[in-house]
């Protein structure tokens, strides 16, 4: 399952995507996120599944634009810590950050 966490407003589409088929629930991304925006737990979208996967915390979803901006997703010198540490490549960011804050 591909979960999009974030929001769409007048300034753009600000989403983190987590592919729960790839996610192993290892929690590495949770550890490295500077704003502690991530967590690992039950898959809320499949009530019969027992597998634990990563998600964006509920209280962070609507502010994800600001949470992720300092990590410069998509345009920084390095990938953001959560992306860098994810072995299966389950986590990604939409282009909004790069479009709004990256070098044009």
């Amino acid at each position: 399952m591909l979960a999009f966490y974030g929001f769409k407003d007048g300034s753009g589409d600000w989403f983190i995507t987590i592919d729960t088929d790839k996610c192993t629930g290892c929690g590495a991304c949770v550890e490295v996120c500077p704003t502690q925006a991530l967590a690992v737990g039950e898959n809320a979208y499949d009530p019969f599944s027992e597998v634990h996967v990563a998600r964006v915390k509920d209280e962070e979803r609507k502010k994800i634009r600001y949470a992720c901006a300092p990590c410069e997703p998509g345009y920084g010198a390095k990938p953001p810590p959560c992306v860098a540490v994810c072995e299966p490549g389950a986590i990604a960011h939409s282009e909004a950050w790069q479009q709004s804050y990256g070098n044009k």
């Binding site: 999009f4 407003d9 007048g10």
Partner: protein, 308 residues
């Protein structure tokens, strides 16, 4: 979560229905789903997986009270009480505050399951616009979520966005759809995404003497466009269905279909025996919750709490 005021331009009528073909006393598992949304609340009761009754009401200031009110409406004149219910699942914006629910499940999962029940196993994409959110969901033939996207941060592209507009031009929401087509030519859409800035834009158009129907068309077109952008990011596949209050607004639905190049599925029950039952798109979430409740008991994943 606004209560009624004297000018209720945003108020969809309340609804209730009971299945005349079912005697709940003969059923084995009686399950309920309670969907407390930011703007409206629904309860659906299923008996052995068949639709038994539903109630639809405006959410008040108090989520638990709204849940109770919707439950009361659904159970009215059935003889059924909460004590006869085997399992109840809460969902929606106020799901943590549903007093009669044994557990909660996200609305995403419930809407997919509910849409599958209402429209059938060919459903692959569900778009639900609630009072304060907009969700896009792709699901499989069993109603299981394959991917999803939700916006509940920004009022644009939510029911509230349409309500604010209805209040501003003083036209009831249910009139906006039809009137938006009583125009000569499709006007350019409202350019501001933000509902607050769109309001100023609308005021400007009114002052310029643009006809009200044209402004309604422009607003519906803008909303359809935002939804289309959200959906296309996820990918839209047929059967495509829309649930929630916005499904009742043809002004947005038809323009969305045009932008996507995909028609929404006909609003009718998948099960042929349900042919004459009312089809209220707002009950999808509660229906999904009720079906999850039933499945959990029948599969032994949860214990019945039935008292009588």
């Amino acid at each position: 979560m606004a209560e009624g005021t004297s000018n209720e331009y945003w108020r969809w009528p309340e609804g209730k229905w009971t299945n005349p073909d079912i005697d709940w006393k003969k059923g084995t598992i009686i399950a309920a789903g309670v969907d407390v949304g930011s703007v409206s609340s629904q309860v659906v009761v299923v008996v052995d997986g068949e639709l038994y009754s539903f109630g639809n009401t405006r959410t008040g200031y108090d989520s638990p009270d709204s849940a109770r009110k919707a439950m009361h409406i659904a159970l009215e004149e059935t003889g059924l009480t909460v004590n006869n219910i085997d399992y109840c699942i809460g969902t929606g914006y106020g799901r943590v505050n549903v007093p009669m629910a044994q557990r909660t499940i996200t609305e995403i999962a419930c809407h997919a399951r509910g849409a599958n029940f209402m429209y059938g196993p060919e459903v692959r994409t569900v778009m639900d616009m609630g009072g304060q959110d907009c969700k896009a969901i792709n699901c499989d033939e069993k109603g299981k979520v394959l991917n999803f996207m939700m916006n509940d941060k920004c009022a644009a592209g939510t029911g509230r966005g349409m309500e604010v507009f209805a209040d501003l031009i003083r036209v009831p929401v249910w009139e906006i759809g039809p009137r938006s087509f009583q125009i000569e030519k499709e006007p350019p859409m409202i350019s501001s995404t933000c509902v607050v800035f769109a309001k100023s834009e609308v005021v400007g158009l009114l002052e310029q003497g643009v006809p009200e129907n044209d402004i309604m068309a422009a607003y519906c077109a803008a909303m359809a466009h935002r939804i289309m952008e959200l959906l296309n990011r996820l990918g839209v596949h047929e059967k495509f269905v829309i649930t929630g209050g916005i499904a009742k607004n043809e002004g947005v639905v038809k323009r969305l279909e045009k932008e996507l190049g995909i028609k929404t599925a006909e609003k009718k029950w998948h099960k042929p025996e349900y042919k004459n039952y009312p089809f209220d798109t707002q009950i999808a979430g509660a229906a999904g919750a009720a079906l999850f409740a039933e499945a959990m008991v029948s599969k032994g994943k949860a214990k019945s709490v039935r008292k009588a």
